[in-house]
Amino acid sequence: MSNLIENLNKTFDNRIRLGIMSALIVNEEVNFNTLKELIKVTDGNLASHLKALEDMQYIKVKKGFIGRKTNTNYTVTKLGQKAFTTHINALEKMIKNMK
């Protein structure tokens, strides 16, 4: 039991961070507004969680412009991919244990 929990990544405890990672894993890149619509959170809240993931080096930020508007795109890093996969596997084991 205990090593099951160890494999669960504390970083992904939060619903918003889990949402960000899920979206980035299946898309090459996702911009800020799309993430906001998908996860249904406020700007500030989303930005702080993105910052946390960026600090962990799980995601990369690419800032650009469309006309004059800023367009910030996010991509997942190799490290982030690995961390997320481990987390999902731990979740899966946890659920299998249930039966």
């Binding site: 039991m1 619903r15 899920s22 894993i25 299946v26 996702v30 946890m94 659920i95």
Partner: protein, 243 residues
């Protein structure tokens, strides 16, 4: 004798330890056991919820889900209406001889074009209404991706149709339309509600079957673009939109 006694005491202690102390310890600490069980149960339910959230976000971020079943029904009705008008034109050519073969072909093309435009407009309207109702934006990266993937086989098919018209192999038009449309649907199904790929397979099968049954193009066309669309639309409406 002493050792016998010692053994007896030991045995007693052994029994006592196993049958009293351990159960007592368990009873004393049962709250701990309950808490940890509760904790794990919660963790497991949480895991299940997390997996559901992950699946949901992954799907919503890659698939265009506002496609309405009514679009299918409307497109099907347009196609059936088009086929009906086309049979009238055939009657004019065969029985009344009031139009030439070339005129008949031109009429077919005009009808097909009108059907395509009308079906597209209806699809747009119903999809717009559904995205409004579900409060999901209609134009997003998923819409764009779905349209691109739909368009690639369709445009390729369009060139085939143009060349077939130039070479006057008219019997190939319906099979090519159906086949390429089927391929387009299968290709786009990764980016929208997945069920559409079954519609794609059916169109493809009809198209290929039509290659060996020439002369029945209009019937195949009506079945593929009319009937199948209506069936698909009703099933999708039943599955996702029925309140």
């Amino acid at each position: 004798m002493a050792s016998d006694n010692y053994f007896r005491i030991n045995l007693l202690a052994y029994f006592f330890k196993n049958y009293f102390i351990i159960p007592i310890a368990i009873i004393k600490n049962i709250h701990l056991l309950c808490i940890s069980k509760h904790f794990f149960m919660n963790m497991e339910n949480q895991s299940l919820q997390d997996i559901r959230d992950i699946k949901n976000i992954m799907e919503r971020s890659t698939r265009f889900i506002s496609l309405s079943g009514w679009s299918g029904v409307a497109a099907g009705i347009c196609a059936l209406a088009g086929s009906w008008i086309a049979t009238k034109s055939i009657a004019k050519y065969v029985h009344e001889k009031s139009i030439t073969y070339e005129e008949l072909i031109v009429r077919f093309l005009v009808i097909a074009g009108c059907v395509f435009v009308a079906a597209f407009i209806f699809a747009f309207i119903f999809t717009y209404l559904r995205s409004k109702k579900n409060n999901v934006p209609m134009w997003g990266i998923t819409t764009y991706r779905m349209l691109i993937n739909l368009a690639i086989p369709l445009i390729a098919g369009g060139f085939f149709v143009i060349r077939i018209l130039q070479m006057e192999h008219y019997f190939l038009i319906a099979p090519v339309c159906l086949s390429f449309y089927g391929l387009a649907l299968i290709n786009a199904s990764k980016y929208t509600l997945g069920e559409i790929k079954y519609l794609g397979y059916c169109e493809l099968i009809l198209g290929i079957a039509n290659l060996w049954i020439p002369g029945y193009g209009l019937i195949f066309w009506a079945a593929g673009f009319g009937l199948l669309h209506i069936i698909y639309g009703v099933i999708m409406w039943w599955k996702y939109e029925r309140v």
